[in-house]
């Protein structure tokens, strides 16, 4: 009995809770590590989920938590809505789904920070500064994600919204935020004396900043934005960890923050642009004029019958999907064509550019949904050295990532961006609705190359037509 009393005394209880938090942090680390390899990823996700479950259960068992019924109600509602959304969502809508979940993480951290600020009357800088950071990062993650959601789901126009003095307004907002941050941290406020006034001002300004930071970013740059917002949602949780002085929040939040930053960096490198350029230049809106040289020669269209004959004789085919494949929902038809080609003795590979689509790995998820094995998916660096020997490249709804101007035209806004050199293949089919230019608004010299054939029409219809040619 003596022993039990020791364990369940308040201080010992706190120690046990903290030990279990360490255990749960370890599960997050192992889970995240396993997410890095296709063989172990699914298991890794489960281990990380177990870490979360352990952390939640031990928190609920903590003696200072009393109003269980309300907490359970909120958790039940949240779990219900989260589960429905996660299980019902179409794979093509995955980018906006990830965006909205990011936003929810952000607002939750903001609420935790705000609530703690109202509850405590601390004047410790080690708490007040994290409260400020939690609210600011959480707030801008929330509204930024909502805007990203709007742009990705098509509820909002995806084009960059630019206006004069945009950077000045953003700069002014940041200064205002810093001013209110100072008001919050220095307890004897300079102008405002009531905590809630300062807190409300900070929340409103963070919301506004989140909106203003994301509206100038165009649809094709969304992979960077989603990765960055992902990082922010982690950093907000991390800051909240300082507020409630809890290690598991700090470890988990920092891991997410770091992983989001790495992805952001990979995306920027894949476009050969700096993060500042992605965030502030309004790419796609300004380049549309000026640099495009207009018509660059003759376009050679092809009909599906002829395309079939070339494919039928090909010994190697590389399929290059882009956002257009997602829009046309063509992934299943593409897989069917790939299988028929393989049945015909052709080697089929799928070349995925890191920024193809609207989020990191977007094309990989769609092809996985269509049952394309992931070892058939390769990166541009794997195929470019041998692309001269590829018989046919099929470009499906991709544009900027196969634009040779990135290699040849040093005046092009995408000059220097690593691309897939499909123009060097023996033959390239470009599946395209019309001659409109891609997200960056740049004319694509690929369309005028002598070895390029344009297969006009809806990507799904064209592929389906090819499939039926093979079957007949």
């Amino acid at each position: 009995m003596e022993f039990l009393n020791t364990i369940f005394s308040p201080t010992a209880n706190e120690a046990v809770v903290n030990l279990i938090y360490i255990f749960s942090s370890a599960l997050f680390i192992i889970g995240l590590k396993m997410l890095g390899s296709p063989e172990t990823a699914a298991k890794g996700n489960l281990i990380s989920a177990l870490g979360m479950l352990v952390a939640v259960v031990v928190t609920l068992l903590d003696q200072s938590v009393t109003n269980f019924q309300w907490i359970f109600l909120a958790m039940f509602l949240g779990a219900f809505i989260g589960a429905i959304a996660a299980l019902k969502i179409e794979m093509t809508s995955m980018p906006e789904m990830v965006a909205i979940f990011n936003g929810f993480g952000g607002i939750a951290s903001l609420l935790v920070g705000s609530s703690e600020h109202i509850l405590s009357s601390t004047d410790s800088l080690g708490i007040l500064i994290p409260i400020f950071l939690t609210v600011v990062i959480g707030g801008l993650t929330f509204t930024g994600s909502i805007i990203a959601y709007g742009k990705l789901s098509g509820r909002m126009n995806g084009n960059p919204i630019l206006y004069k003095g945009q950077q000045w307004i953003n700069g002014l907002l940041v200064l205002l935020l810093l001013f209110f941050g100072f008001e919050m941290i220095v307890n004897q406020g300079l102008v405002f004396t009531l905590n809630w006034q300062v807190l409300t001002a900070i929340i409103c300004l963070s919301f506004l900043l989140g909106i203003l930071l994301v509206i100038p970013i165009g649809g094709g740059d969304m992979p960077v934005v989603i990765a960055l917002l992902n990082s922010y949602s982690g950093l907000a949780a991390c800051a909240a960890g300082f507020v409630i002085q809890n290690n598991v929040l700090i470890v988990a939040g920092a891991l997410v923050g770091a992983s989001g930053l790495i992805l952001t960096n990979i995306m920027c490198k894949a476009m050969n642009r700096s993060l500042a350029n992605v965030l502030f230049s309004g790419f796609g809106a300004i380049v549309a004029s000026g640099t495009s040289k207009g018509e660059q020669g003759e376009v050679r269209p092809i009909v599906t019958g002829d395309a079939y004959l070339i494919l039928e004789a090909a010994s190697s085919v590389a399929i290059v999907p882009g956002y257009g494949m997602a829009v046309a929902q063509a992934q299943h038809a593409v897989r069917e064509l790939g299988e028929l080609l393989e049945g015909n003795g052709t080697t089929v590979q799928y070349v995925i550019h890191p920024v193809a689509g609207r989020m990191p790995g977007h094309m990989n998820v769609l092809l996985a949904e269509a049952n394309v094995p992931y070892d058939q998916l390769i990166e541009p660096g794997d195929i470019n050295p041998i692309i001269e020997s590829v018989d046919v490249c099929i470009v499906i709804g991709a544009n900027d990532v196969v634009n040779p101007a990135a290699r040849e035209d040093n005046e092009s806004p995408i000059y220097g961006m690593p691309i897939i050199d499909v123009d060097k293949a023996i033959t390239t089919f470009v599946l395209k609705r019309s001659m409109a230019s891609g997200f960056a608004g740049i004319q694509n010299p690929l369309f005028f190359k002598t070895n390029t054939r344009m297969l006009f029409g809806d990507a799904k219809d064209s592929i389906t037509a090819l499939v039926s040619e093979f079957k007949s």
Binding site: I29, L35, G36, P38, A42, N45, M52, A55, V56, T59, S64, T66, N67, W70, I71, L73, A74, L77, G78, A79, G82, A86, M91, V98, F101, F104, G105, S109, L111, V112, S115, L119, G126, N230, G234, A236, A240, I244, N246, V248, L249, A252, A254, L255, V256, G257, A258, S259, G260, I262, L263, M359, P360, G361, N364, V365, A368, P373, Y374, Q376
Partner: protein
């Protein structure tokens, strides 16, 4: 600076380095599951949400509402994030 803060900062810095080491070599095939899996982990703020919803406080009403909302949003993030990641990963197959 109080000792607790320094200790927490210590944990933060180590975790950031650990995070960079863990993720730096992820194949692009897994970028989306990694992102949504990491996103689910960021829902750890649910622990903060539960702790902040404890009742013994002066300003019960407002912090109670804020806490419940935080629990709700964090749970959507956690449950939705893990389920959607699991759904995606179950589709990734080898030949």
């Amino acid at each position: 600076m109080e000792p607790t803060f320094i200790l927490l900062l210590f944990v933060l810095v180590l975790s950031i380095f650990l995070g960079f080491e863990l993720i730096s070599k992820v194949p692009s095939t897994l970028h989306t599951p990694l992102m949504s899996g990491a996103n689910a982990i960021s829902g750890i703020t649910i622990v903060g949400a539960i702790l902040t919803s404890r009742t013994e406080s002066v300003n019960v009403e407002i912090t109670f509402i804020l806490g419940m909302l935080a629990v709700f949003f964090a749970t959507v993030n956690v449950v939705g994030g893990y389920l959607v990641t699991n759904r995606m990963l179950s589709m990734f197959k080898k030949k």
